[in-house]
Amino acid sequence: MNLIQQLVNAIWLGSVYSLFALGYALVFSVLGVLNLAHSAVFMWGAWIGLLVVTQLTLPLWIAVPAAMLGAGLISVALERTAFAPLRARGAPRISQLISSIGASFFLVNFAQLLFGTNPERFPIGLIPAEAIPNLPFRVTPIQVVILMVSVVLMALLNLLVARTRLGQRMRAVAFNQRTAGLLGVNVGAIYMITFFLAGALAGAAGVLYGLAFNQITPFIGDAIALKGLTVIVLGGLGNIQGALIGGFVVAALEVFSVAAGGSNYRDAIVFTLLFLILLVRPQGLVGQKEQTRA
């Protein structure tokens, strides 16, 4: 009973981590750049969704696409201001990393100016909070929804990248920007589309996260940023299935180290294992061998 519940807890937490990490992984897969402002876009997505529901009093099914659109546009703006100029200059990737930190700092502080620091939540009763009855374990409807959404989004994203012409172009840009340009791919457009998709994913994740944890502040992205990083590295950088699997692995490590009575050392256990996995398999759990990137 207890073990089953912990397993459910792990799957649930894993789907939250994966959902957050998908957009992160997408940007990395195409640009080879860690976008540390991804967590800030995620936070903005949550706020947009919340404001659509509370201020515009629109139903939730509009709030999710609105948040995806809004966060997608913020993400595109981010690409144009924080990444594109650096890329055009051929600046090293580490500069892009720092630039994204500056952008994140700006977005979080700007949100604080606009929304204040008091935590807000979606109205009580907007979604049923009671556990689904007649199961041998406790799980709420929103938990099931988030799990399904993350798996479906991962599958769609995978299809998009692997099967469509757009995905083909994205991979071409990822492989070699200059060659792709010579082959007639509009590189700038691909970057913008990638960032839009990543932002939209972050927006959806933000709203679902806000629904699941009932608490939206300008700082919700900070806590999950490092987790997201761990997840995508563990899964294999830039690998979309990897983000999903990484999410579940990190969550399982966390939950079962707590279940085993080690809540004091939970994060140490996670990072030690990450450390060891990196040493043995730097390409991550799912990644292919050697793709050198900074």
């Binding site: 937490l13 999950i224 994060d267």
Partner: protein
């Protein structure tokens, strides 16, 4: 005819205060009224008296600092509107942000003490910032009044360092005793953040209080500040089936713990300390926190009329209910003003002496300082009844 004169003068006497209070917020006639009696109107103060306030106004802990800032701003408006420091004397506050960073707290305290030459500082928000920054004020002989520091040893830093915030050790034992008394708890579990001094010391006090009251602690779980998912810890706890779950957390995490504990089907008593004393906790948890017991330095539903007036003025000004951080900061600003009034001087040492000797009615209850500048006032044990805190056992 003589009778009429008597009636008229009586009417005039009765309406005069009413007229005055119609012009200005009603608050100042309550808080500080006793100080107006004991200390005469000051005569030696300059036109502008400047104090500082060092708070965490940006970053993750800013939810506390912003609330404190509002409490202080409300108090300052009342103090100035009521000419509490004498006609034509304005009390000015310079707010500085520490961004939850010790280095910035040091820089900001240096600025307030050396550049702005304030006579007193309210803050800092976090205990670790206090340990970094307060010695600067102490060395310069500037009064510091902490309004939210609860760590041990804050006032040991020197004779200019005061606090009005009751630590968990003054609050939790009464809470546990009250809960045991009312609800007959026999076993309990504790959950707390192990990387935050406030929650760690709260957990220690809970543990001791449970033992002292013959309650067995059947489970202890920890989490890291910033966590949002507590299901794994709660599953462990619920497996032990404790009568009560003590939550030593700050409001943000407490909300999640309460919601997730109930979603996992926990039926027992939930209880907490100062960290849970926020209207946000009740608003955001809805029916899940019905019966939640919170021991705290201040009760929003307190029958104390100063507290009621503060609550009304705060809600009127900002459109939301005050939390304990706002109440303690508001009280702190009034205490500093009262000390300045009684000292009738902007000399820090004189203000310190006046503050140490201060005895006044406040929204926190009747307040005075111990010999070592720690607060003396009665904590309250409250229980959530239908979405509002009421005094436990008073129903």
């Amino acid at each position: 005819m003589k009778k009429w004169i008597w009636v008229f003068s009586l009417l005039a006497l009765l309406t005069a205060p009413a007229l005055v209070s119609a012009q200005m917020p009603t608050m100042e006639s309550l808080i500080g009224a006793d100080i107006r009696q004991t200390c005469p109107d000051p005569t030696n103060l300059p036109d502008t008296v400047t104090i500082g306030s060092l708070l965490t106004l940006t970053g993750g802990a800013s939810v506390f600092g912003v609330s404190q800032q509002r409490g202080i701003q409300l108090a300052i408006a009342e103090i100035n509107n009521s000419a509490f420091l004498g006609e034509g004397v304005t009390l000015e506050v310079i707010f500085e942000d520490s961004a939850s960073d010790n280095n910035q707290a040091i820089a900001a305290m240096t600025k307030l003490v050396e550049e702005d030459r304030v006579i007193a500082v309210i803050g800092p928000t976090l205990s670790r910032e206090a340990f970094s920054a307060d010695p600067i004020a102490q060395d310069a002989g500037v009064v510091v009044l902490a309004v939210s520091n609860t760590a041990n040893g804050i006032t040991d830093m020197g004779d200019f360092i005061f606090r009005n915030s009751l630590p968990e050790a003054s609050v939790i034992p009464g809470t546990v005793a009250g809960a045991v008394d009312q609800l007959g708890i026999r076993s309990a579990a504790i959950i707390y953040a192990n990387d935050d001094d406030f929650t760690v010391s709260g957990a220690n006090v809970f543990r001791e209080a449970f033992e002292a009251n013959g309650v067995t602690v059947v489970a202890e779980e920890t989490y890291a500040t910033g966590d949002v998912d507590f299901n794994a810890q709660l599953t462990n706890i619920i497996a032990q089936n404790p009568d009560a779950l003590a939550i030593s957390a700050l409001a943000v995490e407490a909300v999640q713990i309460i919601l997730q504990a109930r979603a996992q089907g926990y039926q027992g008593v939930l209880m907490g300390g100062n960290g849970l004393n926020s209207p946000a906790v009740l608003q955001q948890t809805g029916a899940d926190s019905e019966g939640l017991i919170v021991g705290a330095a201040w009760n929003i539903g307190s029958p104390n009329e100063l507290s009621a007036a503060f609550k009304a003025a705060f809600e009127n000004e900002y459109g939301n209910l005050p939390d304990q951080f706002a109440a303690q900061a508001y009280t702190g600003a009034w205490m500093i003003a009262s000390a300045i009034r009684c000292a009738d001087s902007t000399d820090s040492a004189a203000v310190r002496d006046a503050l140490a000797a201060l005895e006044m009615e406040t929204p926190l209850g009747f307040f005075s300082f111990t010999e070592d500048r720690n607060p003396i006032h009665d904590p309250v044990v409250q229980v959530n009844r239908g979405g509002a805190f009421a005094v436990l056992g008073a129903e």
